[in-house]
């Protein structure tokens, strides 16, 4: 065991921790103000808007749980599963401001029995998988103490 691995995003440009707390990066139509995640950069997906200009914006880092599920079997590639496989939980979370639902794994150490629809959660960064050099980070949802 030598030095710590480098922590790199599992996907580029989908989230940021710049300026403190981590958050997803979305885009917002300059015309109709609709939010998009993943970022839309070409043509606004509001059918009544033909906007083509978008600003990159941080999305709410909190939201409420819409639903959730725990997985007991290893999914197929391209998922990179730990060996031995560990069950993981996925939650669908409605972002507080944008009123869009975003999926994500639930933070490690949270038991599914603690979750409820309507529960407040916040976005955290955790390792999705690692190789010899890097830890690949992804956003996850973590219940907020209330």
């Amino acid at each position: 065991m030598s030095q710590a691995k480098t922590r790199v995003p599992a996907i580029e440009g989908w989230w940021s921790a710049d300026g403190g707390a981590p958050h997803l990066l979305g885009s917002q139509c300059s015309d109709c103000k609709s939010y998009f995640f993943p970022k839309e950069s070409m043509y606004c997906r509001n059918p009544k808007c033909s906007g083509t200009k978008f600003d990159e914006v941080p999305l709410s880092r909190t939201g409420t749980i819409w639903s959730f599920t725990e997985h007991y079997y290893k999914p197929p590639e391209p998922y990179i599963a730990p060996d031995p496989f560990e069950p993981y939980t996925i939650a669908a979370v409605e972002l507080s401001e944008e009123k869009m639902v975003v999926l994500g794994q639930v933070a490690k150490g949270v038991d599914m029995s603690e979750l409820k629809a309507g529960m407040n959660v916040e976005l955290v960064l955790e390792t999705l998988y690692e190789d010899d050099d890097n830890e690949y980070l992804i956003w996850k949802w973590k219940p907020l103490a209330d």
């Binding site: 995640f37 599920t69 997985h71």
Partner: protein, 395 residues
């Protein structure tokens, strides 16, 4: 009623895990449908194939593949793809050709050979493709989405694991004598609840498998049909509507939904709007339905459909199920065929198979699983990427 076409013939190849070329299943179904219609292949003006994307070029050009296998006849041809709704899109293409007066008789066919295990995305790194990314970034499998819907019911309406198991029990009994079903075993609630948990709250016996299979229908103008038969079963509506923005229910293969920040959500969520468009087209409503074939990709999802196609109000599906209303003999049997629970999904064939099943019931030919006195039925399914379909078949 100017929008009606006749279902002149229907045919299927038994579902299973046969591992043979998909063309064989499709041709078997075509021959059965043509025989049932009492016509020859050379009477067909338009061959409408539902595509399979897992069988190389012959699958991409399914319509032409089947037309060649039946014998090049100069018929016009088309191939449709719309994920789980492919078969309905193929039927809609055929219906429009007939109603437009461009053809009299069309053959619609779908068949598939599927790989074992979970459906997985194509190989290679594809950072542009949401279907690849959902696996890579979070292991969101198909059962993930079904489980999210199921858990939502539990949270919203207090549904129980036992409720979901009962759907499987019902469907397994429905399909017991269906010669086209792959699984013909009566499951007990206990057996279902003892099967391994896959994606909580869904267990192995509550999640639809992938199957090989084939189904075909012969559609014709009402005028042509009247020369060949009396009182043919009719297609009164085919809905292939897309969602309305913003669609805020999470859908395969996306990792996020639209935002309802600047535009209000539409009156009807997507799954409700599919059937609503079919009812509007047919000019009849849920209260007129004698039976339904819906996409039980999971046992729990069947309960959502009861509400989505208007058989009951939101939150009442469990009561409907537990009162036996959706069992054969009940008020409006759902999935008398046994549904996906007994078939497993053969994607391009499935929406066509649903129409085959309704046709047998409306003709009184469904044997031991006959829904007595059936006069109208509806099918419903939902696929990936904003695809869904609903077909209304009437007497």
């Amino acid at each position: 009623m100017g929008n009606e076409v006749a279902v002149l013939g229907v045919g299927m190849h038994p579902w299973g895990k046969w591992g043979r070329n998909f063309v064989e299943y499709g041709i078997h179904a075509c021959q059965a449908a043509l025989k049932d219609a009492g016509i020859e292949w050379t009477d067909v003006d338009f061959c409408s194939g539902a595509e399979t994307v897992r069988n190389g070029y012959p699958g991409y050009v399914a319509g032409a593949t089947f037309a060649q296998a039946l014998g090049w006849s100069g018929a016009r041809v088309a191939t449709s793809y719309a994920a789980c709704a492919s078969g309905a899109t193929g039927m809609n293409a055929a219906r429009a050709q007939i109603l437009a007066g461009l053809c009299d008789v069309a053959l619609v066919v779908g068949a598939d050979t599927t790989p074992k295990g979970f459906l997985a995305p194509n190989s290679g790194e594809r950072w542009d493709d949401p279907d690849w990314l959902r696996f890579r970034l979070m292991g969101a499998t198909n059962p993930t989405y079904f489980a999210l819907y199921a858990r939502r019911r539990m949270e919203l309406y207090g549904s129980t694991e036992a409720d979901f198991a009962k759907v499987k029990v019902k469907n397994s009994r429905h399909g017991l004598t269906n010669e086209y079903a792959r699984y013909r075993k009566a499951f007990s609630e206990e057996e279902v609840l003892n099967s391994p948990m896959v994606a909580d709250p869904l267990r192995l016996f509550e999640i639809c498998a992938t199957s090989d299979g084939g189904a075909a229908v012969v559609l014709s103008s009402m005028e042509f049909a009247r020369k060949h038969t009396t009182n043919p079963v009719k297609i009164a509506a085919i809905s292939t509507v897309t969602p309305r923005y913003p669609s805020t229910v999470i859908e395969m293969p996306n990792m996020s939904t639209d935002s309802a920040y600047s535009v209000a959500v539409p009156d009807l969520p997507f799954r409700d709007s599919i059937a609503a468009a079919a009812y509007e087209e047919a000019g009849i409503g849920p209260e007129d339905m004698s039976l339904a074939e819906v996409y039980d990709l999971s046992a729990a999802l069947e309960l959502d459909w009861y509400e989505n196609i208007g058989l009951c109000k939101p939150g009442e599906a469990e009561r409907m199920l537990n009162d036996g209303e959706t069992t054969i003999g009940g008020r409006v049997p759902v999935n008398p065929s046994g549904g996906l629970a007994c078939f497993g999904e053969a994607v391009p064939a499935q929406a066509i198979a649903q129409v085959c099943e309704l046709t047998w019931h409306l003709r009184g030919q469904a044997g031991e699983r006959q829904v007595e006195g059936a006069t109208a039925g509806i099918t419903a399914n939902q696929g990936l990427f904003g695809h869904g379909s609903s077909v209304i078949v009437t007497k």
